[in-house]
Symmetry: D2
Subunit: 407 residues, 4 copies
Amino acid sequence: MDLTTSPKGQEILAKLQVFFDEHIYPNEQAYAEQLHHAENRFAVMPLMDELKDKAKAAGLWNLFVQEDHAEYCEHGGLSFLDYAPICELMGRVLWSPEVFNCNAPDTGNMEVFMNFGTKEQKEKWLKPLLNGEIRSSYAMTEPQVASSDATNVQLSIVQEGDEWVLNGRKWFITGAMNERTKIFIVMGKSDPNNESRHLQQTQVLVPKDTAGLKIIRPLTTMGYDDAPIGHAELVFENVRVPVENVLAGPGRGFEIAQSRLAPGRMHHCMRLIGIAQRSLELACQRVENRSTFGRKLSKHQSIREEISRCFSEIEMARLLVLKTCKTIDEKGPMASTDMIAATKTTVPLMVQTIIDRCMQMHGAGGLTEDYCMAEGFNYARWCRQADGPDQVHQMALGKQIITRYAG
Amino acid sequence: MDLTTSPKGQEILAKLQVFFDEHIYPNEQAYAEQLHHAENRFAVMPLMDELKDKAKAAGLWNLFVQEDHAEYCEHGGLSFLDYAPICELMGRVLWSPEVFNCNAPDTGNMEVFMNFGTKEQKEKWLKPLLNGEIRSSYAMTEPQVASSDATNVQLSIVQEGDEWVLNGRKWFITGAMNERTKIFIVMGKSDPNNESRHLQQTQVLVPKDTAGLKIIRPLTTMGYDDAPIGHAELVFENVRVPVENVLAGPGRGFEIAQSRLAPGRMHHCMRLIGIAQRSLELACQRVENRSTFGRKLSKHQSIREEISRCFSEIEMARLLVLKTCKTIDEKGPMASTDMIAATKTTVPLMVQTIIDRCMQMHGAGGLTEDYCMAEGFNYARWCRQADGPDQVHQMALGKQIITRYAG
Amino acid sequence: MDLTTSPKGQEILAKLQVFFDEHIYPNEQAYAEQLHHAENRFAVMPLMDELKDKAKAAGLWNLFVQEDHAEYCEHGGLSFLDYAPICELMGRVLWSPEVFNCNAPDTGNMEVFMNFGTKEQKEKWLKPLLNGEIRSSYAMTEPQVASSDATNVQLSIVQEGDEWVLNGRKWFITGAMNERTKIFIVMGKSDPNNESRHLQQTQVLVPKDTAGLKIIRPLTTMGYDDAPIGHAELVFENVRVPVENVLAGPGRGFEIAQSRLAPGRMHHCMRLIGIAQRSLELACQRVENRSTFGRKLSKHQSIREEISRCFSEIEMARLLVLKTCKTIDEKGPMASTDMIAATKTTVPLMVQTIIDRCMQMHGAGGLTEDYCMAEGFNYARWCRQADGPDQVHQMALGKQIITRYAG
Amino acid sequence: MDLTTSPKGQEILAKLQVFFDEHIYPNEQAYAEQLHHAENRFAVMPLMDELKDKAKAAGLWNLFVQEDHAEYCEHGGLSFLDYAPICELMGRVLWSPEVFNCNAPDTGNMEVFMNFGTKEQKEKWLKPLLNGEIRSSYAMTEPQVASSDATNVQLSIVQEGDEWVLNGRKWFITGAMNERTKIFIVMGKSDPNNESRHLQQTQVLVPKDTAGLKIIRPLTTMGYDDAPIGHAELVFENVRVPVENVLAGPGRGFEIAQSRLAPGRMHHCMRLIGIAQRSLELACQRVENRSTFGRKLSKHQSIREEISRCFSEIEMARLLVLKTCKTIDEKGPMASTDMIAATKTTVPLMVQTIIDRCMQMHGAGGLTEDYCMAEGFNYARWCRQADGPDQVHQMALGKQIITRYAG
């Protein structure tokens, strides 16, 4: 298995590294301060817009777009394998993906439009998304049911005349609070009596300003509001959209959901490698500059063992991501579910543990907003719930492996 | 070893349980909303003041006061063992200890005044603290050194005439932001050339409004500001206080610091048992009310194993706390350092793991502010750093055990 | 909860400590050598018989007997709580329980006779067992089914005239190889069509020399044959015993099995605390006497952290055992299943981890037969399977806890 | 990084797979029985010799030989990367490497001869080793010092006239008991006053039948004697060998030791992947064929989670091994110490955990000699001590990583 990235991928990565050194790292404090003093934490940030312009100018735009969607980007598309180190680098600064129009959930939503959108839908929503002019949300999880089983979804979608009428409640809807977010892709149940549990769902497009759609509140995860993107709770009360707002067609909601999640899971893992790697580097720098009881922390045997563990685990996590990427590139996501599940259920937990260790070595400061570790920890933690809790994927993976060896 | 609490302890616990059912649990949502909508998150909260009055009226006040300080309370003092289940119960609602004037860091500060204060200092500061009229802070940790080695403390305390002059920087100063906080106990270095590293430190009292003392900012841990108590960063620039503001005397700072920490560590652990227990109960309720793939979560074998682990670990953690309490009651804290260190380095980490499991079983909602779990997780996490990172206590405990068996 | 042992318990413990110092520890090497050079590793060992005589003479005999069976011993019976530290002490030398007639499976078998035996059965088998003249086995586990679900048991027991006829296979039959073992208690299925799955089983007594009963081979666990007691695989081919050899009566096999296991599980855990404690002491001595890279091992921070963890975990494991013992003493085993399951599923795994750490600190020698650690590790490991794998008990415990908090 | 093996490597692997199907797996029971009934467990086994002849005939001989030693084998040498999956396959049957003359410690010893032997030494010892006619041992570890610090070695080597005189004690000398073992490479201290701690050691060749060399006993690890290769304790009492028996030259002992260990560590890890993979397959088969409480084990959610974890961890461990191999192939072992240390300190512990889980899923049988799991567990466990305990390598790796990021 050849895990070497292509010359194009290497070239973009090199440019991105330069961009980070020139524009991202030097702006971390400014970004934190703008956000801290923002009246509305979900408003457009001036610094972000400046950086987006620079990224576009540098040809570092829409890097997530894959080769089979080459027409939607200027770089001609990148393989999963090529994108992995690029996305890892973005993971080092958690707000940076948006600079390159590479942030969740917009990337996944744009892919949904590419794969399932009509010409009109693409023109209206995909184009401004690709330009970074608007943002979008994907509304799937519901507070009242275990949404990890997608067939549990209860939001009702009923056709009345030439309209879809939506009623229900959603939460953890990433991006919904953001001022620039204009469109929601909403998963609901349109055909609850269909004998196939996987044909009961439909996805429709709901503009954010549609009557009856209320944003109740932003949610926090482990204390973070993840502004300016964030996660919201929504209520749909007799929300009406035209029939042509359906995606792909009635009854295809489950299919779209399945197609959407593989890249998203992998992108999370790639970014988590980046934040884990950065946490390790921060811990190394700290232990070299602190002393207790007359001895540099870096000379304590336990510190060296912890650093050693972090290094080894990051190596393994990164290799797992790369192999899964290569497998997807070669066989497609449907034939790679074992590797995707292995990655999704392994990397976030490992990274959580790695960052926990780095914070502990770093001392109390490591828990604060002065460093990226606590936020990275939170990111790793909620990834164990996002896109289905790990246990659901382990259920499927375990079953598949048992069949493989005892079938 | 008799771990039975006294009749008095049992009686107070029973009254406290009634109080929780009547006044605390029913007010959780109201409290969250008052805090959420507060203009100043560190201001006095009306609800808190109402509850404090009720607690006083119910004889549930200053429950932390020990038997040897009976004169400072109406209940005549409680042993460590008696206080453990009381404090555990308070841990179930993280803001509730203040209702009973039992919150950190005020409890520790009041004990310092009881043990080391002059008559005047007690009259001026201890009395209103015991009445819950003012709040206090304990300023020890510094950003620029590894403060887990207390001899590293750098804030300079110099006598000039009949004044102490303080210069330096502190952070993680719990309570400093709170509007009612009026007095800081500040640890600094007054005699850096003393050949004994443990006689170089002095503690002085600094009223919050003293010129030259600036509160720079509140800090967050893992995303939480822990308002309305919180943790702040402070700067001391030529802060001047009268010589009589010294605590106990020059050079006794280290001694005071040592005496102060044992109860604080134990109180944290007691409360953590409470929040862990409540997280387990919440998880049990959730898994009984959710289904995936046609099966109640509570019937999944993995869920039962996780619940089982949580139960067993809480049992052990609680027993360890109780044994340590009993040991302190019998031998005093100085002869109980092994058990205190074992508790301090074990319980927070166990509780962090327990709550992590409960959040995972609970689904994404468990990560939000709708439940107490994420905040409890954060509390457990920072306790691994508070009062010295676990590693420092393990260093001492390991050394002691090796000497015991190989001396 | 009062975890103080009774004066009688303390007195016996003190005598036992003296006995260990005088007769057990000084004979460890001799025992190892006798066993090593034995032609038949399952034969009677001269040293064991000498020590048994001394133990009897010292009044340290049948210490496992409980208060409600006082007539079977001279000491008047011990509570679970009293027995815990006594049994822990025996756990420090894994072959020592037999010296005091306190070894598995004979203790459990003797209890079965006490509880369910007829006068004749007691006279014939219990009496010589109590005297230490013969040994016994309990034949329950079968190789072809998951025996953790006792209703899976397949060995067929059919009544023909005035005889029971047994056909089937058993394994992990502890003690079966031992030369002195004379009697097997055999669990089988006598009424497979009974609509209650718990009334299909019967237990009958089968003398070891009965025709048709073949001992196929000794089994090893993790490389250990556990001689001279050991674990065997057996075949029953038309084994015939008189009808009066039934225990308690037909259909009561499951009931007997249930009653038998609680004390056995607790005794294992008590002994495991002993071997864990001893491993910790050995590790302490080793790290104090070894140096690497110019520094005593005991001065390495990582060693101190590991020692600290071992100490804390042993404290917790011991407390859990004691609380469970006290609960059984007060409420009986049937009302203590939650605490028994918590102990059985927690302590062996903890002890395995503790000994693993101690072996690692001890260096390669710790893995050898020169120290008791590897054998203790093996003991802890198979206890996770013995008396039902942990998962089965976690299933029941988890269910019980969920019902408690969400019922 | 291209982790694809070469066509030659793939061809040999394919042939080896056929050989395993035809000759190794079908002979596992026969091998176990021959060893079980052997009068001398360290004698030559007839079955082994038959299989060795077949392996030679099939061109599957000395597969460990690397490309830079092509003259010593017929296959022209294999890279580390090519050898990894071959060695992994051998790891599935722990006694199989000897069939292909690929077993430790002979492979490492042969490499020492290739790298440091004189023409005469090669003729006398390397040639019959390469032919599989004799076996060898490498005597480094000593019972009285922490040998993980190689400079601690105490065995005295003194030149008297034209002889070296050796006095000292060694243990864990793998292969020493084996009947065919003829030559020992012995590390000792020849120049204790040399100011460089790394120039004090010398290695000399000691034929097994030299006067004064006594094999005291075989050692067990975790209950296993690892016959017919095994580990022995040795005493050297005025053992005399000619001066020409020195390897490379006086004072070069440390250098030889360093050069020898990298491949050995990697080979252990490769084999451990094989035994972990096989344990997973055995567990899958077992859980598919067992039921408890009316439900196949394979349908329990906890089983699926455990299987899932094993799969993911094996993937990561294997990738780490492959990357390290590729790094060594490209940069040489000296520039790959970070990756080698990461692999050596990670894979054995992971495999130990994986097999532990598989044994638990497999039920009590999994602990016995009927399956390869317990022996694999033991192998993984002692690898954490072999070639230096993990902690020593973590010390070096941690230091290196800290320097990398904070240098």
